[in-house]
């Protein structure tokens, strides 16, 4: 299974980005291979539709789980359509979030905001 997070840096000690649509990096962890892949978010400088584009990127990467602080309603529509389950991140490193998820300690993300609309 692939687990994704929006991160500030390209290493496992990084903190997570407080936003999603215009996050600089996505971490994609493959639970089967143990591999950690970092990719630059193609929507990071988008003037509009950033949530949609970021979510589409993860759906296309076949991500099944997303650990994130907050999501806008447009991103949620795409993630739900792509069957990506969203969990609320904790204020800690990417490594710690991954561990917490695997131990079943993260809660589902159920409240969403109307979107930041062009503002990072």
């Amino acid at each position: 299974m692939k687990i994704a997070m929006a991160t500030l840096e390209e290493n496992m000690e990084t903190k997570l980005d407080q936003t999603f649509g215009r996050a600089v990096y996505f971490l994609i962890h493959d639970t089967e291979t143990g591999e950690n892949k970092f990719m630059i978010n193609p929507a990071k400088d988008a003037t509009g539709g950033a949530g949609i584009k970021s979510a589409q990127t993860l759906v296309d990467e076949k991500v099944e789980t997303l650990i994130v602080f907050r999501l806008g309603t447009n991103a949620v529509k795409v993630l739900e359509g792509g069957n990506v389950k969203c969990f609320r991140a904790i204020e800690d490193t990417a490594e710690a979030n991954l561990k917490a998820f695997k131990e079943g300690k993260l809660t589902k993300l159920e409240d969403f905001h109307p979107g930041y609309h062009h503002v990072k």
Binding site: A43, G49, V78
Partner: protein, 277 residues
């Protein structure tokens, strides 16, 4: 001749200047391009609408039965208005810019364009003055289609009341202008935003001139000093008086009741006409 009235800072008096200017020009047209909050028509007391029309933009409609999942449309859209999951694309209409590209790249004809209402345009007539107002629907992201429909009613000498600021809506509103009147007030904020619209009209290469509204203190020459650095003179200055403020607040045209101000607006047109020829 089309004269656009813009300001940068809101509240400097675009509508005040443009309504009164139109009022002193026989057989003219007043066009309100501030479609998010049109207020010019209030001053003309138009009773009978000549016509009201809905303004539309086109958005894609997707026939899932015809879609073969090639994703050409999703890849093409540079606004990310289309997302693809499962077996067909999903449209986010508020992000769509109506470019029509997705329909063109679709190989199976699964995408057709359909109308989506964005606002209305109202045309009235009072005596020999034609009054055109655009009104954008609440929640609509772009005023451009409504502004364009308003501008299509340009006829004879046309005074175009622009939206505040210097962004997309204002740029669209001045596209057909032969001359731009830049209205400002003698304040730091007024001057700051005035410089932004000077940049804009210079970029568009439209001749322009300055009107200072709400003039109170003769020792405050901040606007005149700036205008001089551009090698220009101020066209007219309108004083800041309680009488004018009261009349405007009551929705009345000052050029109807005050003959000096009526002459001032007539002189504004004369100066503009002279500059253009």
């Amino acid at each position: 001749m089309n004269i656009a009235v813009l300001s940068g800072k809101g509240g400097t008096g675009k509508t005040f200047i443009s309504t009164n200017l139109a009022n002193t020009i026989p057989n003219s047209t007043y066009l309100d391009c501030d479609v998010e909050e049109p207020n010019g028509r209030i001053f003309f007391n138009a009773k009978d609408e000549m016509k009201t029309e809905t303004v539309y933009r086109m958005i894609p409609s997707i026939d899932k039965d015809k879609c073969n999942g090639c994703r050409a449309c999703t890849e093409f859209c540079q606004f990310s208005a289309l997302a693809f999951f499962g077996d067909s694309p999903m449209l986010f209409p508020e992000v769509c810019h109506s470019c029509g590209g997705c329909e063109k790249v679709c190989p199976t004809g699964a995408i057709t364009e359909v109308k989506s209402s964005v606002g209305i345009v109202e045309v009235n007539k009072v005596a020999d003055l034609k009054i055109v107002s655009g009104l954008l629907n609440i929640g609509e992201a772009s005023s451009i289609p409504v502004i364009n429909r308003v501008l299509s009613e340009i006829e004879n000498t046309s005074i175009i009341d622009c939206p505040p600021g210097s962004a997309c809506s204002t740029m669209e509103s001045i596209k057909k202008a032969d001359y731009c009147v830049l209205v400002t007030e003698p304040t730091i904020f007024g001057l700051h935003n005035l410089k932004m619209i000077v940049e804009l009209v210079q970029l568009f290469k439209i001749p322009f001139g300055f009107v200072i509204n709400k003039v109170e203190d003769p020792n405050n020459t901040m606007i005149e000093d700036y205008v001089k650095t551009l090698g220009k003179e101020v066209l007219i200055k309108v004083p800041f008086t309680k009488e004018i403020a009261n009349k405007v607040a009551s929705g009345m045209l000052i050029s109807d009741s005050d003959s000096d101000l009526r002459d001032l607006f007539k002189s504004l047109l004369n100066k503009i006409t002279e500059e253009i020829s």
